[in-house]
């Protein structure tokens, strides 16, 4: 970690006197967050009974947007880690945030499968799918909180 911390790239990301280093990476990470979680919450709200007249079938492209945003945030997240590896690697809060994401990704996959696995469109959202949606929505909220609080550790 110390080697990574002292590398030229890490130092540039962290200390360069330009908005194109750390500030831009952080802003793209924020953009990816609102895209990923914004779409995820839309799906979760619908499954939890909000706006029931929205047909579930046509919402499927939202999952493509979510995965697109996820890869953006994995990439920018790695860059943010490189900028500050020593503190992040030893931070409980950072570990907690990673844990929440690692639990949530399989939920996202299972959610898509539950919604689009069987044809034709189910009339009722199964109770189990609703539980998945509620858990996933709360995990995303926890991830946002943990990520935002990382800036203050």
């Amino acid at each position: 970690m110390t080697v990574l911390h002292d590398s030229a790239f890490s130092t540039w990301l962290r200390e360069a006197e330009t908005v194109w280093a750390f500030p831009t990476v952080l802003t793209i990470h924020t953009f990816g967050m609102m895209l990923l979680v914004g779409c995820a919450w839309l799906v979760d709200l619908r499954l939890l009974g909000v706006a029931r007249t929205i047909p579930i079938g046509p919402l499927r492209p939202l999952f493509r947007i979510m995965w697109f945003a996820f890869w953006i945030n994995l990439a920018t997240g790695i860059l943010l880690f490189i900028a500050d590896p020593e503190r992040k690697a030893t931070s409980l809060l950072f570990g907690f945030k990673l844990l929440l994401i690692i639990i949530n990704l399989p939920l996202l996959i299972r959610l898509e499968r539950a919604m689009y696995g069987e044809s034709p469109e189910p009339k009722e959202v199964a109770g189990r799918t609703r539980q998945l949606a509620a858990a996933s929505a709360m995990l995303w909220a926890g991830t946002i909180f943990a990520g935002r609080l990382l800036g203050y550790m």
Partner: protein, 325 residues
């Protein structure tokens, strides 16, 4: 734009746009009263009531830059001779109360509009609540405006000190600042930041899907179904307005002297206009399953989405661009 952010210009801006929550609010209130009195059809509301509610919502949103340029104006004139500091503090505190009640009136007006779009009728209870809140905020705004005038013209008030002491219609902005920034309250700012990100995400999700539908994607979804999601966008707006105002009141100079903050406010006004558009726009409401939309809706959607991302960009860049914090 940064060379326009001078204290003198900001004072001038405050004096220009303060007519929205004062004169503008009187007009909106009168419109609302006339629409209530003149409404003879018990089934459908005439178009005057939604117009009045829309104007009221717009004024509630416009009052955000009015309030925030106020503290910039204070920074510009507080050292000038003949300025009454107690009047300035009393103006700020009474304006804060008027602002809070006006935002609540704007919220009630928006809910009324949202219901009207679906049922062609504003529920009487919501009309009543909006009327009461608008009347209260008009009263508080009058107190705030009156004290505000006395900052430069103490002769307006017979005995400025007594007058100011008597204005119990105020809340303490110093109290808010203490809550956010005071000793032992280190957890408050980070917690509010987290809530601010949650609110932003909620608003953005709804705005994204609704605008994409009107721009010609997701055509299998009828727009009226998406209309049901709009209160969640408003919830995000509300969470962020409260948390944002708390940041602002805690460290006003970090914002009033930063050019990014004014860009953010401008884009925020556009995003709020988009929320009104998504709520009442007739062509949007008529967008049924498979309906392809006009180039006008595509342009509006593009502007709205770019504006919202710009709000996020300007906010996120506050500590890095300009001179904040």
């Amino acid at each position: 734009m940064s060379d326009l952010i001078t204290p003198a210009n900001l004072s001038h801006l405050h004096l220009l746009i303060n007519h929205f929550p004062t004169v503008g609010l009187i007009i909106a209130f009168l419109l609302l009263v006339v629409s209530i009195v003149s409404n003879s059809d018990a089934v459908n509301d005439n178009t005057m009531k939604p117009t009045a509610l829309g104007v009221l919502f717009g004024i509630a949103v416009m009052t955000l830059p009015v309030f925030t340029t106020g503290l910039a104006a204070e920074g510009a004139i507080e050292k000038l001779p003949g300025i009454s500091q107690p009047a300035m503090t009393a103006h700020e505190d009474s304006a804060l109360l008027a602002f809070i009640v006006l935002e609540l009136a704007g919220l009630a007006a928006w809910l009324g509009l949202w219901r009207w779009r679906r049922t062609r009728r504003v529920p009487p209870s919501l009309t009543f609540i909006t009327f009461v809140l608008a009347a209260l905020s008009l009263g508080f705004m009058t107190v705030a405006a009156n004290i505000g005038g006395a900052i430069r013209h103490p002769e307006i008030l017979g005995d400025p000190k007594a007058e100011v002491a008597r204005s119990m219609f105020s809340v303490s902005s110093a109290g808010v600042a203490f809550f956010v920034n005071g000793p032992g309250h280190q957890w408050v700012w980070p917690a509010l930041e987290s809530a601010h990100f949650v609110g932003m995400t909620l608003w953005f999700g709804v705005l994204l899907l609704a605008n994409l539908r009107l721009m010609g994607w997701f055509t299998a979804i009828p727009y009226p179904a998406l209309h049901r999601l709009l209160p969640w966008a408003l919830l995000g707006f509300g969470v962020n307005e409260i948390s944002g105002m708390m940041f602002y009141l805690a460290t006003p100079k970090g914002y009033t002297t930063n050019v990014m903050f004014y860009w953010k406010l401008m884009f925020l006004l556009l995003a709020a206009a988009d929320l009104l558009y998504l709520t009442v726009w007739p062509a949007a409401w008529k967008t049924e399953t498979g309906t392809v939309t006009h180039v006008r809706e595509r342009a509006i959607g593009a502007v709205a989405l770019v504006s919202f991302v710009a709000v996020m960009y300007c906010g996120r860049m506050l500590p890095f661009l300009g001179n904040s914090f």
